[in-house]
């Protein structure tokens, strides 16, 4: 059986428009409601997390107070580690006794040192003056120093003979600081 709409076309159109508007309103309203539900979900989630955050903050304050009460121990621990760090870095501090030990080993039997200066910041860093039985003894000293791991580039500066002894001056560089 067929249905015949006998309404005039204007009314028919108006009815269609009203239906369309109602559909748009209901869809839009549903969308707005959904948005508010989403907002509510966000809000309550945040509130729940906020409660946990407040509990954590209280725990942090309690722990911080516990640490503050032991401030002395904390300061001591940081001081010790701070100083140990420097001590570790300072392991390379120079030991000048090693230079003198090397000099003991390098000095020939017929040679006397009267002035021995070692200063890594001066030029030359090593300066040695003394007496020797001959210039050969002086060169022996230089050769021995050159072979040492702590001295290098020994140079003969001057020498003069006085009362059967050679008065000499030699210079040198430091190869490494012990």
């Amino acid at each position: 059986m067929s249905v015949i709409n006998l309404l005039p076309p204007e009314l028919k159109n108006k009815k269609k428009q009203i239906q369309l508007n109602m559909t748009a309103i209901s869809l839009g309203g549903s969308w707005i409601v959904l948005l508010f539900i989403l907002t509510a979900v966000l809000f309550f989630s945040r509130m729940t997390l906020h409660v946990s955050l407040q509990a954590n903050q209280s725990e942090i304050n309690w722990l911080q107070n516990a640490i503050d009460q032991k401030k002395d121990i904390v300061s001591q621990a940081y001081l010790i580690n701070d100083r140990l760090q420097v001590i570790k870095a300072a392991q390379v501090q120079n030991k000048f006794s090693v230079f003198l030990d090397e000099t003991i080993k390098a000095t020939p039997s017929a040679l006397q040192i009267t002035d021995f200066t070692i200063n890594p910041q001066s030029k030359p860093p090593v300066k040695i003056q003394g007496y020797a039985a001959s210039r050969r003894e002086v060169v022996k000293l230089m050769e021995k120093f050159d072979a040492s791991p702590y001295f290098k580039e020994m140079t003969f500066e001057s020498s003069n003979l006085s009362e059967d002894k050679v008065n000499f001056t030699i210079n040198g560089q430091i190869e490494k600081i012990p």
């Binding site: 428009q17 001081l79 010790i80 701070d82 001590i87």
Partner: protein
């Protein structure tokens, strides 16, 4: 035939405006606050873990407070928080006396700046008997090659010793191992007699005013095994104390 009426477009436009308004004014701020709260919560959990770790470490350190105090004392002797040249002089004097060497001139030349050139004033001639002079003259010397030592400050010294060479060598080796961080910058050995030498030693003592390491959980760990190593750095002299006996004279201006 017109398909959509103007009222339909007004309704659609109204809903779009409301949607934008709600998202802009409500959803986005709520979302941002939620993200911030989540981040704060995560941070607070990390903070709790860190602080709990600290409390545990502090508690364990508290149980070894005696060793902790001893270690603090040793590292403070080695690298004090101020110049404290007094203990260094007393220690040096004890070591050279123990080794049969005389300390002729002991001079503190003042603060050492890290970059300027050395301008040490002329050395005074040796005087008879041991004398100690403390001067406020500032000496500028290049930084010693002792590696990176962040936060440390230096004070120069210039000491002159007299004695024989074997005694001096014994003294020097002992002196290099005392419980105070110092560095020699130069040394001059001169013969003055058949078996006599004069030695001038210039160097710097170090100190550190502040603690410069990070105050974190890791740096609360103390390696107590290091204590034994540190104890090898001997203390030869008795530290000077204002509480010790031997103070007070009726007339301080007459010879003792």
């Amino acid at each position: 035939m017109k398909k959509y009426s103007s009222s339909f477009f007004i309704i659609i436009a109204g809903f779009i405006l409301v949607t934008i308004g709600v998202i802009w004014l409500v959803v986005i701020p709520q979302g941002k606050q939620l993200v911030k709260t989540v981040k704060d919560l995560q941070q607070s959990k990390r903070d709790i873990a860190d602080l709990t770790g600290r409390v545990e470490k502090i508690t364990s350190l508290e149980q070894r407070s005696e060793q902790l105090s001893e270690m603090t004392q040793i590292v403070s002797d080695y690298l004090p928080d101020s110049q404290k040249e007094g203990p260094f002089i007393v220690e040096t004097e004890k070591v050279f006396q123990d080794n049969g060497v005389a300390g002729d001139i002991m001079k503190i030349t003042g603060a050492v700046k890290a970059t300027a050139k050395q301008t040490t004033e002329n050395e005074e001639s040796a005087t008879a008997g041991a004398t100690t002079t403390i001067s406020s003259t500032t000496t500028s010397t290049p930084t010693p090659k002792v590696g990176g030592l962040p936060g440390t400050a230096q004070t120069g010294f210039s000491f002159t010793f007299k004695g024989n060479f074997p005694s001096f060598m014994n003294f020097l080796k002992t002196w290099e191992g005392i419980r105070r961080f110092f560095v020699l910058q130069s040394i001059q050995v001169k013969t003055t007699g058949d078996d006599e030498i004069t030695v001038r030693a210039d160097g710097m003592i170090f100190y550190k005013k502040q603690v410069s390491i990070l105050e974190n959980l890791e740096n609360l760990d103390i390696n107590f095994n290091k204590l034994e190593d540190l104890k090898k750095k001997n203390l030869y002299s008795t530290p000077v104390s204002p509480q010790e006996p031997g103070y007070g004279r009726d007339n301080p201006f007459v010879p003792f």
